[in-house]
Symmetry: C2
Subunit: 299 residues, 2 copies
């Protein structure tokens, strides 16, 4: 496995690989790799014959400097996991490499970046689209794989890729979960043990909504009320947002659901009183598909 | 010579050419080609073995819809000139091809886009950097050539290319002029005959400043006063801006000039009273280099 640190070296390698007819897949990550990332590597392997993974904790997508400071950094372990997973090349640039001195250029996707995480993390998606554009330009992949756990991020990157005419196929891969259902996230390690136990409230509230849909509930307000009640059972949990949105445009869902809809959650977990440690914000989501109700009379 | 209209076809061609080891040069234009554009083609030919030229009147860089409407469109003539000049491929996309439905993604370079033309044409450089990013992504050139007549545009594109890690060498080529010194511009054809005669006031005022510098003038205010007086001699001319700026950062020049400085002019020419036709805005520029004064006593 190769390890490169400079854009110039990566671009020369990409030219050679593309010139030799190889299909390149890129898996952009911020490191602290877990089984979720490794599932992206597997997906990349199915779609390309060279799998490259980038590790870069991108400062411009952190609206909160404390969050940036405590984001886990585990490069040596990450490289070991990549080697084991059959990654062909890791790109681990410095911040100065990704943001040359005086860099001010931004890539923004407009409205898709405004709701949900865009509303509670100002500037976050501008940082994401800017760094992903740079990673695409540095690695020149044919295909790039992102996790569906960060649903809005995936939507925003698809939009950027399409709008700017990037010759890159963007692929989403399903969320990987712990045995108790918690979605894998590099931030999970920052959870206090009691907060970690309560964090399953995210997946439980998604399942609550799913059951309600299957049982015939079509009211957006009633569904969200059920979700909020479920999250309210976890004393350390504080809702950042719980919303129903159109899965592509991310516009608000109608009051009465008719087609597939995104249920998106962001929940902050505080440390128990007296315990050490700061709060941790987790996200999760599910596409709910309200099939036509059976038993009704259809004209 | 080939003529392509879709991004997809262009990207496939770029992959083939790059895979075969050819070096690609792109000359992005808005058509209405003149000898200035053809000098860019010559420069491109010196630097690559495939010369591609794009023709696209980019709506997002026109802040004035009247200016967009009257911008000359001469595709058949342009193709003839390209053929004669040995261009290998022309890319002439539709607006829908460059801006897919619902496209909202923008590329912005920050401060470099704010002064000069950025101040009097709001949104102009955002349109430029967005469309040039798309053209680079569509054509995948090794090198791209732009005219120095649009000095700020060149600076803005260099900055975008560097900041976003585009693997493209950006080259500036000297301004080509009519025999009377007027810088070639596709907008010159929109000048009323009398305004055309008076339009040489741009180059004359640049020469006035050059002579003053050679004669030892180092006061920015005095230089600009001379420029304004010269432009004032043309009754149809109205100054949009006349400024001295740092040639790279585009920051305001110091009151007493020490190193090379950009003199940038934008002048609007009105039609003579009673004549048909709207006003035409022209730009021109020169780098003034105040060499150390001779005759002084250097310690």
């Amino acid at each position: 496995m190769d390890l490169l640190h400079t854009t110039r070296a990566l671009q020369r390698r990409a030219d050679v690989e593309r010139g030799a007819g190889h299909r390149l897949a890129l898996v952009p990550t911020m490191g602290a790799l877990h089984a979720g990332h490794l599932s992206l590597v597997e997906e990349a392997r199915r779609r390309a014959d060279r799998v490259w993974l980038s590790i870069f904790v991108n400062p411009t997508q952190f609206n909160d400097s404390k969050d940036l400071a405590k984001y886990p950094r585990t490069l040596e372990e990450d490289l070991g996991k990549c080697r084991q997973a059959g990654v062909d090349l890791v790109f681990a640039p410095t911040a100065a490499e990704m943001y040359p001195e005086g860099a001010q250029t931004c890539v923004d996707v407009g409205e898709l970046a405004h709701p949900l995480c865009g509303a509670t993390r100002p500037g976050h998606f501008s940082g994401v689209t800017t760094v992903v554009a740079k990673l695409f330009l540095a690695a020149k992949p044919h295909v790039a794989v992102f996790g569906e756990k960060d649903f809005q991020q995936l939507a925003v990157i698809r939009r950027m890729t399409r709008d700017l005419l990037f010759d890159v196929e963007v692929v989403g891969a399903p969320t990987v979960r712990e045995s108790d259902g918690l979605a894998l996230s590099s931030r999970n390690v920052n959870l206090d043990p009691e907060a970690r136990r309560q964090a399953t409230v995210l997946v439980r509230s998604l399942e609550t909504a799913e059951r309600a849909i299957v049982a015939g509930e079509r009211s957006a307000a009633a569904l969200l009320h059920g979700v909020e009640r479920e999250i309210g059972k976890a004393p350390l949990a504080q809702i950042d947002y719980a919303q129903l949105r159109h899965p592509e445009s991310l516009e608000p869902a109608p009051a009465v659901l008719e087609g597939p809809v995104l249920l998106a959650l962001a929940v902050v977990f505080h440390s128990p009183e007296g315990a050490d440690g700061a709060s941790v914000r987790l996200i999760d989501n599910r596409i709910l598909d309200p099939k036509p109700l059976s038993g009704g009379i259809s004209p």
